[in-house]
């Protein structure tokens, strides 16, 4: 028995102190990552310029991470046969990506193909969502009414203006399709006109109906993703509240500052892509307590998304 006790004491005294210090059991061996193309190309039918980006995916243990692929060549082909090709070093703009200029895409099916040396070619197909703009204006009904306005001035001569606006917005609601939309407020103020230090402000957009399952906040897009779930006419007169707060030395300048909303009709794939990325990037219960989310991609054998959307701006001004 004494020997047994001695043995136990010896074990206690001589083992394990080093392991206690950092708690590390072991390192998990990972299989080598096979880099794939990660594409981002979000295109609308008419634009002066659009940007496509291609990166290589990286293994989680790769300290350098995802790298841009300047050599990537993009081909956008319509179902009718017409196509556009751009990319490579020639179209690369530092800080932006591969820029496609003078865009004019017709309705229908588009297929994007991305080729790059040493990578498997990837493809993705999209259908143009419904157009929501007519003659440069939003093509559906909306009304905005000023509910409340409050002006305050502090001891340094700064003026603060707060406004609450009631917005009613109608979105296209096709009987034979389940469409997705994105609505968000643009940054308030055109900073070129004012000294940044002197003027400031923000706009908050909120749906009036609590827990409406069709309207979900997306942190990455800084706006609400709206899904057409219900039956016909379900997206008529959606109620929102806008709250604007601006400040600066001149009341006239901040009063004239418009609220600009961006409304987009986006493809289902684009909506799902940003919905998933947002869940990954902003886990509701923190990384430990949230069910892991698989990334969504509509790009064959790669990551990322080719998305088509149509958009319009809604400038709202109140004197």
């Amino acid at each position: 028995m004494k020997q047994l006790l001695f043995l136990l004491a010896l074990i206690l005294g001589t083992t394990g102190c080093d392991k206690l210090s950092d708690g590390v059991v072991r390192e998990i061996a990972f299989p080598e990552h096979d880099p794939q193309i990660a594409v981002t190309f979000m295109a609308r039918p008419v634009a002066d310029s659009l940007v496509a980006r291609a990166h290589s995916s990286a293994g989680i243990l790769d300290s350098i991470g995802s790298k841009r692929i300047k050599e990537a060549v993009y081909t956008l082909e319509h179902a009718a046969g017409n196509s556009i090709t751009w990319g490579g070093e020639a179209d690369w703009v530092q800080g932006l990506g591969h820029v496609l200029t003078d865009v004019d895409l017709e309705d229908g099916n588009w297929t994007l193909t991305v080729e790059a040396p040493e990578f498997e070619t990837v493809t993705s197909t999209q259908v143009m969502p419904p157009r929501i703009e007519s003659s440069g204006s939003y093509a559906y009904a909306y009304t905005a009414a000023l509910e409340d306005e409050f002006v305050d001035e502090d001891e340094f001569g700064y003026t603060y203006l707060t406004r609450t606006i009631d917005l009613s917005l109608t979105l296209p609601d096709r009987v034979d399709a389940s469409d997705y939309f994105l609505i968000r407020a643009q940054k308030t103020f055109n900073w070129e006109d004012f000294e940044e230090e002197e003027y400031g402000g923000y706009v908050v957009l909120n749906p009036r109906v609590e827990d409406d399952p069709r309207i979900v906040w997306n942190q990455l897009c800084r706006g609400y993703l709206i899904q057409d779930i219900d039956a016909v006419e379900a997206l008529n007169s959606l109620p929102f509240e806008l709250y604007q707060e601006t400040w600066g030395p001149e009341l006239e300048a901040i009063s004239a500052e418009p609220i600009v909303l961006e409304v987009c009709a986006i493809s289902a794939e684009m909506a799902q892509y940003y919905e998933r990325l947002d869940l990954i990037d902003n886990p509701s219960g923190g990384p430990l307590f949230t069910e892991p989310v698989l990334a969504y991609s509509n790009v064959s054998s790669g990551y990322g998304c080719f998305g088509l959307y149509t958009s319009s701006t809604l400038p709202l001004t109140f004197e």
């Binding site: 083992t15 708690g23 390192e27 990660a38 940007v51 989680i60 932006l96 987009c264 989310v293």
Partner: protein, 794 residues
């Protein structure tokens, strides 16, 4: 349900009519401990002359039909000396038997008494660890834990290092029906799952059933764990006191009226808070402007009163209360002002039960149980800021409190009818009224005298449901070699205007081979009307009990099992294979968590799927003698599939463990020295890890003002549970020195947890090294842990 009721009544009447024609007498009564009067549950009686036997039921009652004449009746029970009695029968006779404990460590008395060996039991997949052995197992911190001892049995797995959750045959912890003295418990853990709520000193017996469920059980898919508290010593006052490095506990029992009424009271409390308070106070003294005050404790209290009202009636009243309280408060002072934060988290279990046993005839025994069970979980946080000036004091305060829980009121009636030695009937019914509170959050704020405050409550509304079941089962001796337990369990739930009905057939067969072994087979369909909404990563008190509703289906399963069992010289050997399919499993949707249920309806955060589990279990167990213990091994697979998780592909369940082995050895060197050791091995837990990264972009503007893109790096997880942690293995040892003093027996218990210091994985992190490279590391939390405990028994 009506059909089941009709079948039940007709069967009963038919069997009564048949029995009335028989010419036999009924011997009935109780089997009890000679020293304490404690009822012995599952004791066996064997009559050699008629080759018939029976066992005591869950209340120690037996009933056996014997012809007129003199019979030799052998009564036996694990850990007790078998006794043979001569009984003369000329009429129905009521006779109580007593057995003496303590002598069974002498292997000589363990003869092959028939009828209580593993091969004799019709029910398969049922295991029992004698409480005497449970108390001798090595324990972390010297705190013996019932559920952790069960984790050493094949088919029962632990959730992770140190935790007491049970994962039975690929099932999740909510699929275990844990019954304390007839009352289902919802949360059975202390200290975030590291300890179970059961005080081993207060427990008389525990058994776990993993499959082949008799019809009297229902409501859960994977297992039934029956824990019976001691009734209380009818003869004299006895008790135990136990002091370990984590907690102290006591148990006292004795007669209120000798041989008529008894009581049992036990309690346990940790003193982690008492130990660390002086340390915290001394740290706080170093900077008087900052005060930190952590707190944690748990306690539990068990009580029971047992009253023999008359020859035919017994009444039991019992209660259980347990609470965990964790919190952290911090105050920072700035001159005359101060800000403080107070975070708290507590959970509470309360159970009360009243039971009435009545012996209607020597053949018909009934038990009526009326119970109330409550589980409550609260977590809250409060921020406050006070600004004091010479003339004024302003306080701003914000607090939020999240509450969830479940309250059950239930009544259950069970009948045991020993029709003859061929048919033993059990039938009865149950009504449970559930009140679920699936989470509500109260926000309160005050912003000083000049501004209005906030006082609002958000969250899901209470859900009330009514659950009923009826059952009938018959244990049939089809021939000398062939026995069966056939039953039907019908259950119904009404909730939110919806109702669910389920008929669940149960069959268990036992065929004795000529060489003494037995082949067993079973089939059980099970249904479960409650779900536990939990993240698979960690079991927390935030896990939410929710009912099946009009939007969320109940869970159901079918389990087939087959096996072989034989006792070789006191060593029980069994091999079982099983296949279980599960439907209606509940999980959070991808990206959802407990926090989503705070402000939104939980039903919108979940998705349902299916699962399968199959495998083989081997057990070699020696229950009596100086050297006892067992070797268990499980080879198993467990997979799940949800349309909305993992792209709809099947994935391994988190606790899919291919190999799971345990070796338990206990040896009594002498009356003064007792030794025990365990070794466990398990395949690593399945887990999801971040696997790759890529750069994603969102346009700065969707309307053409700029071509800029906002970029961010995304970490992409692997397929669900595509990776494994390192295998888990650990050895524990314990050495107990006993000494008999004048008025009590004291023990010093020295134990070492994880004796060869294998740091087992608890969680994994992606770490960045000094040189910028990255590594995924597993971290362990429990190295070698020696402990000491003192125990007195009087």
């Amino acid at each position: 349900m009506k059909l089941l009721f009709s079948v039940l009544v007709l069967s009963f009447l038919a069997l009564v009519a048949v029995e009335a024609q028989a010419q036999i007498h009924q011997l009935s009564g109780y089997v009890e401990d000679a020293a304490s009067g404690e009822m012995l549950l599952g004791a066996t009686l064997w009559c050699e002359s008629v080759q018939a036997g029976t066992g005591t039921n869950a209340y120690g009652f037996y009933s056996i039909a014997l012809p007129t004449g003199t019979h030799q009746l052998t009564v036996s029970y694990i850990g007790y000396t078998p006794q043979t009695y001569e009984v003369q029968l000329s009429d129905d006779l009521k006779l109580d038997f007593e057995l003496s404990a303590g002598i069974a460590i002498d292997e000589a008395v363990v003869t092959g008494e028939a009828f209580n060996r593993i091969e004799d039991q019709v029910q398969m997949s049922k295991m029992e660890i004698p409480m005497d052995q449970v108390r001798r197992l090595p324990a972390i911190g010297g705190e013996v834990d019932l559920l952790k001892s069960l984790q050493l049995m094949p088919g029962v797995q632990s959730g992770g290092e140190g935790t007491s959750g049970l994962y039975v045959r690929g099932g999740s912890p909510d699929q275990n029906l844990i019954i304390l003295d007839g009352v289902p418990l919802y949360s059975v853990s202390h200290l975030f799952g590291f300890f179970s709520v059961f005080n081993s000193d207060a427990v008389k017996q525990m058994t776990i059933t993993k499959g082949g469920f008799p019809a009297r059980f229902g409501g859960r898919l994977s297992s039934v764990l029956e824990v019976n508290m001691k009734d209380g010593n009818m003869k004299e006052v006895h008790g135990t006191a136990n002091v370990s490095i984590l907690a102290s506990k006591f148990m006292v029992e004795g007669p209120i009226i000798e041989d008529k009424a008894s009581f049992m009271l036990s309690g346990r409390r940790t003193y982690i808070d008492l130990i660390i308070n002086p340390i915290i106070a001394s740290i706080n003294k170093q900077d008087p402007d900052i005060t930190t005050d952590p707190r944690y404790f748990f306690y539990d209290l068990n009580g029971k009163v047992n009253w023999r009202v008359g020859e035919r009636d017994r009444v039991y009243l019992s209660f259980f209360n347990g609470k965990d309280d964790f919190g952290l408060a911090s105050t920072e002072r700035f001159g005359a002002s101060q800000s403080s934060i107070d975070f708290g988290l507590d959970w509470f279990n309360s159970v009360a039960a009243a039971r009435w046993n009545h012996e209607w005839t020597p053949k018909l025994f009934s038990n009526l149980t009326v119970t109330r069970s409550e589980y409550t979980f609260n977590t809250g946080i409060e921020f406050s800021e006070t600004e004091n000036t010479a003339s004024d004091s302003t306080t701003q305060r914000f607090n939020s409190l999240y509450r969830s829980g479940i309250v059950d009121h239930a009544a259950r009636m069970d009948f045991n009818y020993a029709l003859n030695n061929t048919h033993y009937l059990r039938f009865g019914g149950n009504l449970t009224l559930h009140r679920f509170n699936p989470g509500a959050t109260t926000f309160q704020a005050e912003f000083g005298q000049d501004f209005p405050g906030i006082d609002t409550t958000l969250g899901a509304e209470q859900v009330r449901s009514a659950e009923q079941f009826l059952y009938i089962e018959d244990e049939i001796h089809l021939s000398d070699r062939f026995r069966a337990n056939i039953g039907l369990h019908g259950a119904r739930l009404q909730v939110n205007g919806a109702s669910f009905t389920s008929l669940q057939p149960r069959v268990a067969l036992n065929y004795r081979l000529r060489n003494g072994g037995a082949i067993k087979a079973s089939y059980a369909r099970m249904n479960q009307f409650v779900h536990l909404l939990t993240n698979e990563g960690l079991a927390l008190p935030t896990d939410l009990w929710v009912p099946a509703t009009d939007q969320v289906d109940p869970q159901s399963s079918q389990q087939w099992a087959a096996g072989w069992a034989k006792t070789f010289g006191g060593i029980e050997c069994s091999v079982e294979g099983y296949y279980k399919s599960m439907d209606g499993l509940l999980s959070y949707r991808e990206g959802a968590s407990f926090s989503n249920t705070v402000n939104a309806n939980w039903e919108d955060q979940v998705t349902q799927g299916i699962g399968t589990a199959y495998g083989f279990e081997f057990l070699f167990q020696k229950k009596q003698g100086r050297t006892t213990g067992w070797i268990g091994y499980t080879l198993s697979w467990a997979e799940r599939q949800f349309d909305e998780i993992n792209s709809g592909n099947w994935f391994p369940y988190t606790y899919d463990r291919r190999h799971d082995a345990s070796v338990v050895l206990m040896h009594r060197f002498s009356d003064q020295i007792d030794f025990s050791a365990t070794w466990v091995y398990g395949t690593g837990r399945a887990l999801t890890l971040p696997e790759s990264t890529f750069r994603a972009f969102v346009p700065s503007s969707f309307t053409g003002h700029t071509t800029e893109l906002n970029g961010f790096d995304m970490e992409i997880p692997s397929a669900k549970n595509a990776y494994r942690t390192s295998p888990y293995h650990r050895a524990d040892v314990s050495l107990t020195f006993l000494k008999t003093k004048k008025h009590y027996e004291r023990s010093w218990i020295f134990s070492v947890y994880n004796v060869y210091n294998n740091l087992n994985p608890f969680f994994s992190l992606v770490d960045e090294n000094d040189d910028g490279s990255r590594t995924i590391r597993e971290y362990g939390i429990f190295p070698i842990i020696p402990s000491i405990a003192w125990r007195a028994e009087f």
